[in-house]
Structures are given as C-alpha cells and as structure tokens.
C-alpha cells in the first residue's frame, strides 16, 4: 500500500501525525513541506475537498493509495488502526469516548487559540500567487488577516484564556496518573503538539503547574515524539506555526 505523508515542522498537527506514524511503525514516504509558506497549496491534491476544506487549517496530508487524508487526530486514529505495537487509544469504549471528547476540546478550543497566538508571534508568509490558489475562502481570509498583522485584542486575550484553561485541565487530569488517558495515547500527542509552543508565549499558564510541566517533559521524551522532533529543520520547531483552525464564529 503506497503511503506518503506531507508534513511541516514537527509542531501542531504535523507533530501529531509524525509521532503516531513512528509509534505505530507505519511505513510511509515522508515529504517535508513548508506549511508556514503555504506550500500545501502546491500539492497536486490541494484542491481535493478533504484537503482544501480541512477544518484544521494548514495541517499535514497523508496520501494513501491516491486518497488525500487530513485532520491530525483522525489520521492518528487511522495509523493506530493500520499500524503495529501498543494501541494509541484506550482499550475500552468509555476510555475511547473520553479520549475523543478530550481531543475534540483540544481541536475546537485549544488549537485555534494556540495557532492564533503562534501566528502572531511568528507570522507565516506565503506569496500572493500561492495565496490565490487557496481553495477555501475562509482559510484564505485567515491568511490575509495574519499577513496584514490584523489580530483582534479580543481574540488574543480569549486565546490566552483558553491556553490557561487547557493547562489547568491537564493539571487536574494528571492527579494520580502519568498520561491523560492512563496510558500514552493520541490525547497526549495532540495536547502536547498544540501546547509545547505555548510555554514561551503564555508562560503564566504553566506557572505552579508541576504535573502539567512534568507531563510536557515526559511526552517530549517518548520515543515516537522524540523521533518526530528530531526531524526539525529549525532550532525550535515549537515556534513554527502556520494558519490553524478558525476561532469559533459564535463568540
């Protein structure tokens, strides 16, 4: 089965999929592309709906037998299904429900906040020819706002709140456990992937959070995560961001 992963720096959604790929030992060709320069929109599959309309924004693309697949948590579930070794999801249905609702919160509340703050700190840059190729009107609007330096104070402060809430939730969750779901899972990878870069941008969120801080270190040291991080081309991959999911339009 031919599998190719187009990914960016090991941060955010690219890190989730790379770590899952390594944890499950799935053979795949890996192609490093610069998501922060919009290079995903140069791919032959860029206009396919599952790529163009991915809710995640500028995430990695896994192409399996010609079918382009996106959305990092679901790609990790796919890799967990097809790969080998220890499962990346809890064994019982209730545990899996907990993991999926945890990841949904990450996807919906934390990821847009992290990407927003990350893009403000280090804005991604795509040239206008590439921007014109972006198939999704709302994704293109997010690119244009970022390139114009157009960040709303409301969204910035709300994003910091959401990061604080995520760390608080992790701190509570880790009472009496090493990993968010008991055993190392997609929830740890996904949460780490969005939050590792927030240590420098929202330092107050991590103050007096010993369990969350130790968990960040533990996750970074997991072999599959470490191997993904070793693919970095920049000194600090957690500082490299591209346009993320949309901040909830309802407020």
């Amino acid at each position: 089965m031919s599998t190719t992963l187009y990914h960016g720096e090991p941060n955010g959604p690219s890190l989730t999929v790379l770590a899952a790929l390594f944890a499950k030992q799935v053979p795949a060709e890996r192609v490093h592309i610069d998501l922060a320069r919009g290079e995903r929109h140069r791919l032959a599959c860029a206009q396919e709906p599952q790529v163009a309309m991915s809710v995640e924004g500028e995430g990695p693309v896994l192409v399996v037998e010609g079918e382009p697949m996106t959305e990092s948590v679901f790609l990790a579930c796919y890799l967990d299904d097809v790969g080998q070794g220890a499962a990346l999801r809890p064994a019982d249905p209730y545990g899996r429900w907990e993991m999926m609702t945890w990841c949904r919160q990450m996807i919906e509340r934390t990821a847009p906040a992290a990407a927003y703050l990350g893009c403000r700190a280090r804005p991604p840059r795509a040239d206008s020819a590439l921007l014109a190729r972006i198939g999704s009107v709302d994704l293109r609007a997010r690119w244009e706002a970022i390139q114009a330096g157009n960040f709303s104070e409301n969204h910035l402060s709300d994003s910091r709140t959401k990061i604080r809430q995520a760390i608080e939730k992790i701190e509570q969750r880790l009472q009496g456990r090493e990993w968010l779901m008991g055993t190392f899972s997609i929830a740890d990878i996904e949460s780490y992937a969005w939050l590792a870069g927030m240590v420098s941008l929202v330092p107050e969120a991590f103050a007096a959070k010993p369990r969350a801080s130790a968990w960040l270190e533990r996750t970074r040291a997991e072999p599959a995560v470490a191997r993904a991080l070793a693919l970095a081309r920049s000194a600090d991959p957690a500082a490299v961001w591209s346009v993320g999911p949309e901040i909830n339009r309802w407020g």
Partner: protein, 261 residues
Amino acid sequence: MHSVTLYHWEPNANSGKPMLALMEKGVAFNSHYLDLLSFDQHKPEYLAVNPQGTIPAMLHGERVLTESTAIMEYVDEVFAGPKLMPADPRDRWRVRWWMKFMDQWLAPSFSMIGWKVFVGPAVRDKDPQELQAAIERIPLPERRVAWRKAISGAFGAEELEESRRRVALGIRMLEEELTKRPWLASNQYSLADINGFNLAYGLPVVWPELSNDELTPHILRWLRTIYARPATKACWAMGRTSMAKRVAVLEQPQPGPGQPA
C-alpha cells in the same frame, strides 16, 4: 445490562444524532425530553446531570456521556446491533472527516440561520425578566452569547451572509460526495449518514432553491433512503415541534427516470 437514559431535545442536529444511533442499534432507552425553548437544559435538575448545560447527554449506568458525535461512536462500540462504523480503517477516517466537517464548519452555519428564523422568534415573546434570568443560568459563556444574539436577533448581516455562503458550498460538497458512493463516507450506512441526516433532513424545505430534485438529486435520494429506514421514521415520530415535522417532505417518492423532477 445497564439502563440507558438519553436527555435530548428534538430529533434534530445534536440531539437527533445519539437518538437515531441508539434506535438503529435497537437499544431501548429512557427518553428524557428537554424543551430547549423553555431552557430546560439550564435548569438545576439537568445541570446536576451535565454541568455544562449542553444537550444531549446520555446516562449509561452510572456514566454520563456528552458530545453527540463521541456518544455515537460509544453507542456503536458498546452495544450489539448493526455496525455503524465501517471495518476498513480508511472508511473510518472518512466517516470522522465528514462528521468533523459537518459538526464544526457546516452545522454552525445552518444553526446560526436556524436560530435566527426559528429559535429566536420562538422564545422572544417570553417575559423579558424570565429570559434574562434564563440566560444568566447558562454555564458556558459562548452559549450565553449565542442565546443573547438569538433572542435579540443580533446576528450581523455579514455573519449571516457568511453562513449562507457556507450552507450553499456545503450543499454542493455533499451533492458531489454522494455521486461517488451510495452513502456519504463509505459503501455502508454509517454514523456519517446519521450525522448528515440530522443536519440536512430539512434542506428541501428550508433551502429549496439550493437543494431540490433537479439541482441535488443525490442528496434528495440519500435523504429519502435514510428516512425510509424504520429507525429514522420511529425517531422523527418523537418530534414535538414543527421543526422536526419538516421531515414529512421526504415522504414524496423518488422521481423515476424520465419523470419530471
């Protein structure tokens, strides 16, 4: 076997997803109807079950489950009955992709317009003090904002226009996807179809200019086929409002070949 209690509103959107999944699996459940328009979901009795005050919630034995799409996956895994997730890993990915796309991109646009034309007007005539108190009881700040906007009709022209753009694009995407295979995400009936039906069953009534037998024959075929299933019929018969009754439009037969649509 533990008993199942589902706290839900109408067979529609998020409430309808676990309702229909349970009924497809043949799982008997205690139905606890919450009247969204009377703010039952923010009353103390329900907040004791789900402190977030979101609908639906499912009690399975002692366990409380929330988040309609995740509940559906749980229901499919834990109960006997027909499998509603395909066995093939890539099909499973496709089911989840479509559910996320609908839950997070398309459905909020449908519901913004739905709240403007249905929910807002339905509650606006209540006593203003009672409404204010009801809003203040809402635990999640973003839901408070949404309710305030719905009640005051304060959705901006620009955001409504953006929602209309997304509805039109989403309809085209669904139509295109349904030309590829009999069901939305795989060759078998799945949670993606249950999710999609909850979003789209009212299309021919609410958006007749965008979705009809001529423009979107695959969507109409899909909706009618789902509504013909006994579980869907039984589920929508639990509806109490005019909103759920829009499903009656799907009782019209499919136009045959050569017949005018």
